[in-house]
Symmetry: C2
Subunit: 180 residues, 2 copies
Amino acid sequence: MFGCLVAGRLVQAAPQQVAEDKFVFDLPDYENINHVVVFMLGTIPFPEGMGGSVYFCYPDQSGMAVWQLLGFVTNEKPSAIFKISGLKSGKGSQHPFGAMNLPQTPTVAQIGISVELLESLAQQTPVASAAVSSVDSFTEFTQKMLDNFYNFASSFAVTQAQMTPNPSEAFIPANVVLKW
Amino acid sequence: MFGCLVAGRLVQAAPQQVAEDKFVFDLPDYENINHVVVFMLGTIPFPEGMGGSVYFCYPDQSGMAVWQLLGFVTNEKPSAIFKISGLKSGKGSQHPFGAMNLPQTPTVAQIGISVELLESLAQQTPVASAAVSSVDSFTEFTQKMLDNFYNFASSFAVTQAQMTPNPSEAFIPANVVLKW
């Protein structure tokens, strides 16, 4: 039903089915993975009114599984690209794989897919930094980075009255940063 | 041998074979596509010493096919993610699909894969903006954006000696921007 592809590697089309409605792909050497593609094979659609939540699972320093919600696949949007590099600093989120105790190996992460009601998926919020596939999310990312920059730069802002006399130091008017 | 996946859509695993060593996937409604994944199915490897160059082909305003080299897939790196949104402003590059005269439809683009000697692939340069799958290229992109910003902001830089007296306007020391 599902395929999983790590950019640069061979496609996987045979997940481990860990429950009737739960599927898991192993991601060996996950610290060297940037992007993961999760997609429906096109053979079997989701049952009416259902879709899949896609989780990234990796072992924390003590070997415990940390789960993060990456996003969703549905019959209407049967594939998605996720960026998983950089997710390791985040905290785990609620997830439906809790009781399974997947064995954790230090270098192996997992992609987990849970088949759920679309209404249930609509109430879940994926980690923002995992979104790749839409221009919108990329634009949002860039905007956030620039906002951070403006906040950072503004914290150094001075007015002329506060300046220590030093005619050679260059200054940039703050509104130039803001307009950019 | 090859699969192609537009982020958000169903996977395609049956390209049109337009020559012994050339394969083409159609991309309907390509103006709404951001990312395309090209991958080997894992069934048949490339012959020893060979790999595939991956091209994006779209119709220009007069309906002529414009080809751009996105990158490569090989037995060692059997999949890649490419960003094709934003490529339309670029110019076409040399390509090996010339004589084929694929019929062009206004809203349909193509992904073309040409099986060639690895030595030949090594001499070809993909369009830089198509690379997605490595952190390096993302870091480079971000760095380039910040360099552009510094150049932009610096063009407004003034020293205290040049300032028009206006004690309320806020200024940011240029070295803060540079250090960030």
